[in-house]
């Protein structure tokens, strides 16, 4: 039996510029964060590319003392179903609102790739 190593695979995909999530071979349900099996059923999973389309489910601004900038933290509902924590960039942190359509992008942070979102209208 091959070892799935889900976190490693996720990071490898991300390093290749791909935002991958998992899908159950049994129910077809999408899964994030990466796991060895579908939550609830224990079914096997396959990797699929995420559409990158999402909607802001909840949002907050972490307030820092100037000059350190305050920043956004948001929960994003992916079009495929799973919810993830991320941040919305490209607008002021307090301009992010619940229901906003967003698109995923891969940004670099401390030398590591990380998934962030930007408002969908920027993409047209």
């Amino acid at each position: 039996m091959s070892e799935p190593k889900p976190d490693e695979e996720f990071r490898r995909f991300l390093g290749e510029g791909r935002f991958m999530i998992q899908r159950s071979l049994e129910t077809g349900a999408y899964v994030f964060f990466p796991r060895v099996a579908e939550p609830g059923t224990g079914a096997a999973l396959e990797w699929v590319q995420a559409s990158g389309r999402g909607t802001v489910h909840a949002t907050t601004v972490v307030r820092k003392k100037p000059p350190e900038p305050s920043y956004n933290v948001a929960l994003i509902d992916l079009e495929e179903g799973p919810r993830m924590m991320s941040r919305v960039e490209g607008v002021e942190p307090d301009a992010v609102v619940i229901g906003m359509a967003v698109r995923a992008a891969i940004a670099e942070q401390d030398g590591e790739p990380v998934i962030v979102f930007t408002p969908a209208e920027v993409w047209g």
């Binding site: 909840a58 949002t59 907050t60 972490v62 307030r63 933290v73």
Partner: protein, 384 residues
């Protein structure tokens, strides 16, 4: 499904706090030990009588063993489970079953933390999850802020309504000489306070204090022969829904809806029969969520429910009568302090903040980021 919870067959026979606020020089175990020995003394017992130990330490992951060693006891059961601040309500639940089954005779549930004096901030061993860490949520505040924002969006809850919770807690604290924050607090002070993680500001967040607490439980038949008025455990149930906030099934409904429902059913009571309520107010939004989920008002009405001082001293429903985590005490985990305040109210020893004739009290614990919930319903002999 109805369970066979031993309603009224176990009782809290000792309940004590020590070092609430600042207790410089004491280690966490010292604070827990003073509270434990005092709680045992109330019942005419000593550490050597304890054969079931329920203990959770902020950073010592084998803290249950360490505390048994500190007390010089060799318990049959040590429960060191770490589900956050709800652990203590869950310990009461488990202790009731184990006592009733005859597995143990005397349960000691204890906690201590010197985080305020030692570090000046919340101390724990939790490391950020790899799918949260890069986004730098200021946890736990940001996770509760996301839930609060969602509640506002879904139900029109306002910042001023969150403020009502903070003001009510301070009002109770002003009646409690042991509370840490007792200076007056106005709606204007609240409105002017600094935001930490929108919509939550400093006055929406619990205190950072030291403190030790302990309760002692026995079977009710044995409790009758002990020194202290027994406070009976009528119901106790737990529910876990998630760990990180992104995986909370619905950000506006906590597991308290189910732990509460089961605890009420065990007790044969409803929210209408509860005389005094203690809910884990790590943040102001918690009180609103738990009042809804525990049936004191419909879902979504919590914000409007707390308006006009309804949960403050003199209001219709007394909530967090010691001042809660917001204004009385919050040494990392607050769950046990709510249980002790419930016991004190039922014993009639709550001084200026005493709720006259209180016979049924509810103490609800919360752990993680609204992740783990546990509800305990206590009653006097008259309520059994």
């Amino acid at each position: 499904m109805s369970d066979r919870f031993p309603r009224g067959r176990t009782a809290i026979v000792g309940a004590a706090v020590f070092g609430q606020g600042r207790a410089p020089g004491y280690e966490a175990s010292d604070l827990a030990a003073v509270a434990s020995i005092n709680a045992l003394k109330q019942a005419g017992l000593a550490p050597a009588d304890v054969d079931g130990l329920f203990f959770c330490h902020g950073t010592d992951t084998l803290g249950g063993l360490s505390f048994a060693q500190y007390l010089g006891i060799q318990p049959k059961v040590v429960d060191n489970s770490r589900i956050g601040g709800s652990a203590f309500q869950a310990y009461v639940e488990l202790a009731a079953w184990l006592l009733d089954a005859g597995m143990i005779e005397v349960a000691l549930i204890a906690y201590g933390s010197n985080q305020a004096s030692a570090a000046g901030k919340l101390v724990n061993t939790v490391r950020p999850m790899p799918y949260e860490g890069p986004y730098r949520p200021l946890n736990p505040v940001s996770s509760y802020a996301l839930a609060a924002g969602r509640h506002m969006h879904a139900f029109g809850t306002t910042k001023a309504q969150l403020g009502e919770v903070a003001l009510a807690a301070r009002g109770w604290a002003q009646l409690n000489p042991e509370a840490f924050k007792r200076d007056p607090l106005t709606a204007e002070d609240y409105a002017a306070s600094r935001l930490v993680s929108d919509p939550l500001g400093v006055l929406d967040c619990c205190l950072v204090t030291d403190g030790g607490a302990a309760v002692v439980m026995t079977r009710a038949d044995r409790a009758r022969d002990l020194a202290q008025i027994p406070i009976h455990v009528l119901g106790a149930a737990s529910e876990t829904t998630h760990r990180e906030i992104a995986w909370m099934p619905d950000l506006t409904v906590t597991g308290a809806a189910r732990s509460g429902e089961r605890a009420y059913r065990q007790a044969g009571l409803s929210s209408r029969e509860v005389d005094v309520v203690q809910v884990y107010d790590a943040f102001t939004i918690n009180t609103i969520l738990f009042l809804e989920d525990l049936g004191f008002c419909p879902k979504g009405e919590g914000g409007r429910f707390v308006e006009g001082g309804r949960i403050a001293p003199g209001g219709e429903l007394p909530v967090n009568t010691n001042g809660g985590g917001l204004s009385c005490v919050h040494p990392g985990m607050n769950g046990l302090f709510g249980i002790i305040e419930a016991v004190r109210q039922l014993r009639g020893e709550a001084g200026d903040r005493q709720i006259a004739g209180a016979e049924v009290a509810l103490a609800h614990g919360n752990g993680g980021v609204l992740s783990s919930q546990a509800t305990v319903i206590l009653g006097t002999a008259a309520a059994c």
